[in-house]
Symmetry: C3
Subunit: 505 residues, 3 copies
């Protein structure tokens, strides 16, 4: 079938497609650009799932002009004036062409396709035409935008990743570890952190019509939060606003965050799901409005999801703004629960690969517990952020409830960090005695026990405390049971090692 | 802003608030007491999430009179006659004041607040003004009401808790264990079991208006099932009927129970969630009515949630009562699956701290498997309860199906208990040989393996069997795999210990 | 109460029952057979949950004639001509009698009951009266139909099961393992794989009316996928289409599959639940139509559930068939992810117990990695199936996206299988040195570490890769962390064993 026939065939389908648009007042009248109609003429046949997804999106029923002209608190775009948008038309729906044809010269993955210069990977700078504040906040304040480089560019974290993901091979009485394959890295660490998407050239693709040449992409497919895109930009908006409905409701669903933030290392989703908040979400979500902008506390939702505390514009019943929308996510985070290897104040800069602690390691705290303070937010900023979070808590809890909750958190962090310190003392003893080699601190059984202490069990307790999670995640489900078992197990394993002269290097 | 201004400002908001009440017939006409209106005048601005939650509750749309006058099976209160209630008015909604101002002299946490004597912690005796039967059943029949004391007052369990939660510190070649901090105890064991809430005095609190003096509470916030309240009472109704909607529907949601009853130690929620029953709940809940009273089998719900078998008033299609509501929860429980260290008949008294087995330990069974029978329900009561549960099963299953199901359970418990017995024999050998010290039976690696056998893996199998859970929870997900690995691991660890002369004490 | 009284009492209830039928046009007029009315006369009192469940089913509102006469793509029966059905009437609802009275002589569990010859266990041949293609596909193409025999008839798998489920007993300084009990086998392996249901004779059953004699069944209750029924047939349709609503929607719910396919050994459900697909399902299911036949991509559902890719009739927006319904489930599966002990091409025959690899073991691959090719699908069939799956992916993803996804899978399987090979080399070393005994390859700690490598952690990575699951299931949640810990742990445990002369046999 050649292209002209396809166009002819397409006409009835486009009509069908237009019929499908929801008839909800003004928004149903939205015109499509000619270019988008051309895309749809074929792609409503091929990749129709994408088209259907988009059809159900707000993008399909809104023009940029309508979006910009909404009352301030109802706006879903941060673009202030139409002329700033650098878009072809403000009076058509935001369709295929409006994103995939933007700034073709900036995208290394642009290829000619049926008379258009299409790029495959729509990137944050594309979205920023209408959502500039979100892109800027995400890039400049959110560690997630740097998730690729913060891992790939940090020798310690990278060594952990390479050690875990590399194939171990028997070599005499020892084991060697090969560097991990591209596939395995994409599957594991960079699945969430984001790959580096590179254009390797063009490749011929057989399609239901003529064969076409498309960019041959490495590191693809991937929607990791810190993806390095072919235009050099960082991040993937579709990590949370999944393709192609770009839904704010989806980004407010806690399980969206749960795609990456799962136990044992970042158990936020698991802890939330079994918490009172998570229970209320699961039990009552059907009566909530996760799509509302602004998001009204107590009306549109009855308990926080992740987005409530970390991202969304929240207003009270009278419409007064309780919190401004932020894509920085750290606005109300003072302490970084995620132990590296201890909890510590949030980093100042989202680029954490440049942190060096007093021991010269790219870690925010030394093994002895001294924080790399010059890279971390100072006490007054910590206080400001904690007070900001407390204000949100007070939407549903008394002042004392909220204050004591965070007092308890502080106590818990002290205990947990102290336990990690003791596990580290044992590990340092083992290194000093030659029972394990510090050259690679992650490739021996003793070291894995130590890592589990601070990366798995301590985090389980920390997140449980911060998020008022199910107490069992601090007790027996990982938690203190796991942390205690790690340190007793490490202690015991060291004793066994000591009694095995033949095993010493 | 001072209080008078606040009152003036409040007037339009109260009007707004009244508008919000759902207009569902008679119930929408419910008046608020003056005291409650006073509370709302400020708190619909501050802590508005609480107010919204309450507004959506039945309490906000019902008077005590209306509740009492309902037909018997539709009643949600057990109060029989209005004059027994000792409440100010039976003709106003059950608002803030109706609970937080009750019996001020009985509550040690009562404080003067804007001309009222308010207490912070609403306790079961407060709820009992309208729900006396529920309170009495919960207190006298339900082990959960004693969850604090049953742990804190039992030297064995307390020692387990203290050992797990205490910070372990390196001391020479050994480890010491400090007593756990207040924060960590609240976070872990007492998060579910309930804290002891004590008034430490008053403290100054900065509010958006004048600073106020409020009770300074220890052990707060907490909604554990066995919370010891400032009035000396036991329990927290909001553990299941969460604040401030006090919903019966929420208490019937299985994930409400799942806030505490999670793997690995009490895996009821996990087992349920992956069971046929749990699947039907998750798949069809949208078409069920979890709020209906009475709860009609096959109409309002198509598969049991936790509440169906353990608590709710269930009727058949003709309205005939299949089961009376009970807050005792043990009504249809004959065997206690939760191994301590073996399964055993349910205790007679919810206060289990007073149990002493033949070895003098505060455990319902000796390590050798002999039950402390005088503290446990006798065989005829076990039979009565099993038959009662079977009747419920027969609502949806044939007589034979139900009978064989529980026959299988009996066989499974025998096998699992026997495996625990063998693990205990190994442990006793290790204690006898001095490979571990019995002084604290929970603080060594060997002992943790033993504990995991009876507390984690055995329970996974027991709950799976009883609740017809996903077979993998009896096989590889914990289950027999874990139980086998525990006993083989313990056996192996003992062998290693024996070969390490230097490690022996 | 005797039977005649029961019949009289029943009349009003049957009327009530008829009232309950949903009045949705033609379907509401469906007549019941006399026999079914007789069943209902008692069973709408006793086992009313079953009756209610059935009343909400399509069976209760459709006759066979109506079902057969539907347009082709809307048909839910594969019966082509009414005369092939061998049923009493094509013009009554499919009620109790229409299934439980079918072919009484073929069912060993048939018993006389109120004048009818009733059998307890409705089996696939019963369902095949109207659903012949489904039964045939399931039997001849689906490994699940052979799940009982594929386990019970394979000496290696059976030995694994017996070792895990058998009670371990202390015997001197060793441990012995008893054969597992009937109860425990039903609870664990055969809970999902299916039991062999046998008639042991008759037994007297006390009912609310006269005592009755019913078949005394062994291996009952059970709804495992490969159940061996009293009529000798294989499978239990209600494993997925749960009793007695027989819902296609339920079978399309991913948690239905999740009753058995859970971590750690077959983590399909867990991986799915935390994937993007699973997130879309959980977040948007309320707006989907899981009951629609045909199932329209992008309209009735916006992301695949298990059934989408493995079973359902899927059409595009124009009604063109993308995939035919299949109960074979392997139609689009080329590689068997489930490691035994390596991933391998799908078996040709669903009866896998007859496979013998080059080492003579009943495994599809040797320990060295050589596939038993004559029992496995050849490369061209693998390609055909992979292309078929890719076509489905392309409903929502670009050609390149889909192609690179499966390229990544191939790379990941290579890495994972290589790691399993190395773990196996270590295990073989240990066997060769006498550090473990190969007689039973599953009953020692070393061997359990090896099994966890290929059965738990490797599978977690494989399923994550294939199903685009949460990357953490390939990284730290089991995954590479677990796989690495297994091999390092095995290596270390072997070293410890070597240093313990007294432990060697």
């Amino acid at each position: 079938m050649n292209k002209r026939i396809c166009w002819l065939l397409a006409i009835p389908f486009v009509s069908v497609f237009l019929d499908l648009l929801p008839a909800s007042g003004q928004e149903a009248q939205v015109k499509l650009s000619d270019a988008t109609e051309a895309c749809l003429s074929c792609h409503s046949l091929y990749s129709q799932g994408i088209v259907k997804d988009w059809q159900q999106s707000r993008h399909a029923r809104t023009t940029v002009r309508q979006a910009v002209e909404k009352p301030d608190k109802e706006r879903r775009v941060s673009l202030q004036a139409l002329e700033d948008a650098r878009i072809a038309s403000a009076d058509v729906a935001v369709g295929c062409a409006e994103c995939h044809l933007l700034d073709p010269k900036l995208h290394e993955d642009t290829f000619p396709h049926n008379g258009h210069e299409v790029h495959v990977v729509v990137s944050p700078p594309d979205c920023a035409h209408c959502h500039p504040a979100e892109r800027t906040q995400y890039l400049n304040q959110n560690k997630m935008s740097r998730a690729h480089g913060n891992l790939a560019g940090n020798p310690v974290y990278r060594s952990l990743g390479d050690t875990v993901l590399g194939v171990k091979r028997v070599a005499g009485r020892g084991l060697t570890i090969s560097p991990p394959s591209e596939a395995t890295q994409m599957e594991a660490c960079y699945g969430c952190h984001g790959t580096e998407v590179k254009v390797r050239g063009l490749k011929k693709l057989n399609t239901p019509m003529d064969p076409i040449d498309v960019p041959d992409l490495a590191g693809w497919p991937n929607t990791g939060v810190g993806r390095v895109n072919p235009d050099g930009s960082l991040g993937s908006c579709s990590a949370c606003h999944a393709r192609h409905s770009f839904s704010i409701a989806l980004a407010r669903e806690p399980q969206t965050c749960g795609q990456c933030h799962v136990e044992p290392d970042v158990p936020a989703w698991n802890v939330y799901r079994n918490s009172r908040h998570g229970n209320l979400y699961a039990s009552r979500k059907g009566a909530w409005d996760l799509d509302a902008v602004p998001w009204r506390l107590g009306r549109d939702f009855g308990a926080p999801t992740c987005a409530t505390c970390h991202a969304s514009l929240v207003v009270d019943a009278e419409g007064a703004v309780l919190f401004q929308r932020t894509h920085g996510f750290g606005e109300r985070l003072w302490v970084r629960l995620f132990g590296l290897i201890y909890s510590h104040p949030q980093p100042i800069d989202p680029d954490t690969a440049k942190i060096r602690n007093q021991a010269g390691l790219p870690l925010p705290v030394t093994y002895e517990g001294e924080a790399a303070s010059s890279f971390l937010i100072p006490p007054e900023e910590q206080t400001r952020r904690r007070m900001s979070m407390m204000t949100l808590c007070q939407g549903c809890h008394s002042t004392q409830w909220a204050a004591l909750h965070f007092e308890k958190l502080a106590g818990t962090l002290r205990d947990v960090d102290e336990m990690v310190r003791q596990a580290t003392l044992l590990m340092q003893e083992a290194w000093a005695e030659g029972l394990a080699s510090r050259d690679n601190p992650f490739d021996e059984v003793l070291e894995m026990l130590w890592v589990e202490a601070w990366l798995f069990h301590a985090n389980s307790i920390r997140f449980t405390s911060a998020m008022a999670g199910s107490a069992d995640y601090a007790a027996f489900h990982g938690g203190w049971w796991g942390l205690s078992k790690s340190i007793l197990g490490l202690h015991q394993a060291i004793a066994v090692k000591r009694s095995m002269p033949a095993e010493r290097p």
